[in-house]
């Protein structure tokens, strides 16, 4: 019984989420008691479905860009030619992570104006750090005997990277991507304060007009999305780790 219960729970949350964002009207009676003075119970300044999709698109675009750049940089500084940058890049990542995402977001506004752009920039820059850090950890802690064997088998540097180093590092890099996505989902929510079209709009609108129903539905959708995505990525990561575990044996 224990094995299928969590899976069933996740499926139920996912189903509920999909039903809620596609036909929120069905839930109106549930949310109505939270409103005052006949205020609307369901967000009425845009469709929840569109906002959710825009939110996810923003996160996806930023994460893909951050992944490509972060992994490329990590590969660069772990090659002999880039070794000079390794210690500094470590401290830069440490320093960078002390910057609060909100600060990055707000400071991007003067550079590119309001809208989706500052959000994308903040998500990209902030998303780089965990991916880079994990990729660096993975690429610098590969088992020595495996690398030795690859070299002994006459593989070129490029072959070693593509066939040995990257596949072995995949689970740890995926872990970095997962952290990055979770941070991005949260930062994208705050992005609505600089006029990006994301689910944060619903929460902020609720806070401004003192409408608890808006705050609650926005909060629940964002929370459910984050938890489901985190969960899904963890599953992919475990799968990759298992495959690598068998592959290395």
């Amino acid at each position: 019984m224990k094995a299928w219960l969590p899976a069933l729970l996740r499926l139920a949350v996912l189903a509920l989420l999909v039903v809620f964002i596609t036909s929120p009207g069905w839930f109106e009676p549930l949310l109505k008691p939270l409103t005052e003075n006949g205020a609307p119970a369901i967000y009425n300044q845009g469709s929840l479905l569109t906002l959710t999709l825009q939110h996810l698109r923003t996160v996806l675009v930023a994460t893909v860009a951050a992944t490509i750049v972060a992994v490329a940089l990590a590969i660069l500084v772990t090659r002999p030619a880039g070794a000079e940058f390794l210690p500094l890049s470590r401290s830069l990542v440490n320093i960078g992570q002390t910057f609060p995402p909100v600060a990055v977001l707000a400071l991007a506004v003067p550079a590119v104006g309001f809208g989706e752009k500052p959000t994308l920039i903040a998500l990209f820059l902030y998303g780089l750090l965990p991916i880079f850090e994990n990729a660096l950890t993975a690429l610098t802690t590969l088992p020595g005997n495996v690398m030795e064997a690859a070299r002994g088998a006459g593989m070129t540097g490029w072959q070693r990277l593509m066939k040995v180093e990257l596949p072995l590092s995949a689970p740890v890099i995926l872990g970095g991507i997962r952290l990055s996505v979770v941070i991005s989902l949260a930062t994208a929510t705050i992005g609505s304060t600089v006029a990006a079209k994301t689910l944060g709009e619903v929460i902020i609108a609720g806070l401004i007009s003192n409408n608890l129903a808006f705050v609650l539905q926005g909060g629940l959708i964002v929370a459910a999305l984050a938890v489901l995505i985190y969960d899904g990525l963890s599953a992919i990561e475990r799968y990759a780790a298992r495959r690598m575990g068998q592959g290395a044996e």
Partner: protein, 387 residues
């Protein structure tokens, strides 16, 4: 003799060349919200000082570019940073028309890029010097004192950020204390609850997975969503639990922010306590049992001191994270530096955004350096003692 180039130096020199020669050093605006006009280094400073600054950054760039001894690179980066810090203040006074209180002078992209380039050089030197924890804290203290001295001296008073500060000095310190109270208070709460919870999870295996999973899910929920979700239950508590409203529990404001930060803080504290205790060598525990120590003695005298550096790492994560997240509390009326950030975004007054963002970054940065140093010291101490 052939010249040898430093690879990082090529990057730094390129940034310096672009920033010094092409990017604007300062922006002049007739009032606080109109678009600004760019001023280069030579336009923003009296001629001799302008030439001096150009000379300093160009020489600094060349020193970075070539393979030079660490001590010279250290000196070059410090001289350049100090010159930039002092001269941006001079530029502010120089560009402000006499008696004009509406004009705003702000550091522009060239200034920030130069600061970035020379900070990069300084960071590289400090990384390569491999400083001991105490000297890292010392460097931080010197930097903090230097910035404090510049602030007190009034040299920067003509800059736009300090003009924003001057018009809201009282609320700045009120929000600062709220920010620190939120970040530190929730940390203290999380330590008081989290460490015993971690010990419990370590001892009772059936609890462990469940507790950690729940905390993990909470950590995943975006901050503003969690703030929002807490408004309803806390509002209900304030209405229905006698005395709750009297001690400040309300639906919006500091209470939901505090509770949310507390919940976020639990996972790193509990998880690191569990990991730290699990990493205690079996031999140490066996020896303690053999000496006839009780469970309680073993926990306090053996397990806990050995696990301490790992727990401290959790506390570091929490503190840095809380200082950043506390900015978002402003959205639900919880106060903190976020008030200025979001006000500034609302009024498109970027100086106001900086007034909120810079202290937050500085606080988080200082907290990270100090706690990293403490962690390293406790870890080495432990190694020395067990060796």
């Amino acid at each position: 003799m052939t010249l040898r180039f430093d690879k990082l130096g090529i990057v730094i020199a390129a940034i310096v060349a672009y920033a010094a020669l092409f990017a604007p050093f300062a922006t002049f605006r007739a009032n606080r919200i109109v678009p600004g006009q760019a001023r280069s280094i030579l336009e923003a400073l009296p001629p001799t000082l302008g030439m001096l600054l150009l000379a300093i950054v160009i020489v600094g760039g060349i020193i970075a570019l070539l393979k030079t001894p660490l001590i010279i690179r250290l000196a070059a980066s410090i001289v350049a940073l100090v010159a930039l810090a002092i001269l941006i203040g001079v530029a502010g006074a120089f560009l402000t028309p006499d008696g004009n209180t509406f004009a705003r002078i702000a550091p522009a992209s060239g200034f920030w890029l130069l600061i970035f380039a020379f900070t990069l050089l300084l960071a590289d030197v400090l990384t390569r010097l491999n400083l001991s924890p105490w000297s890292r804290v010392g460097v931080l203290m010197i930097a903090a004192l230097a910035i404090a001295a510049l602030l007190v001296s009034g040299l920067w008073d003509s800059l736009s950020i300090l003009k924003e500060y001057a018009s809201r000095a009282d609320s700045f310190w009120a929000e600062a204390s709220k920010h620190v109270t939120l970040a530190l208070g929730s940390l203290v709460g999380a330590v008081i609850v989290g460490i015993p919870l971690g010990i419990l999870c370590h001892r009772v295996e059936t609890l462990r997975a469940g507790v950690l999973n729940v905390l993990n899910i909470i950590q995943t929920i975006p901050s503003i969503a969690l703030f929002g979700l807490l408004i309803a239950p806390l509002g209900w508590v304030a209405l229905h639990v006698p005395g709750a409203a009297a001690i400040g529990i309300r639906g919006i404001g500091t209470a939901p922010a505090f509770v949310a930060l507390f919940l976020y803080s639990l996972l790193p504290v509990v998880a690191n306590t569990v990991v730290g205790l699990a990493g205690v060598p079996r031999a140490a525990n066996d020896a303690a049992r053999g000496m006839g120590m009780t469970d309680r003695q073993r926990l306090l005298d053996v397990e806990f001191p050995l696990a301490f550096p790992v727990i401290l790492t959790g506390i570091r994560i929490v503190l840095v994270q809380n200082i950043g997240l506390a900015t978002i509390a402003a959205l639900i009326g919880g106060g903190g530096f976020g008030v200025f950030v979001f006000q500034g975004v609302g009024q498109t007054a970027m100086d106001l955004v900086l007034l909120g963002a810079l202290p937050t970054v500085a606080l988080a940065f200082a907290a990270a350096i100090i706690l990293d140093a403490v962690i390293e010291m406790t870890a080495t101490k432990r190694r020395v003692e067990t060796a």
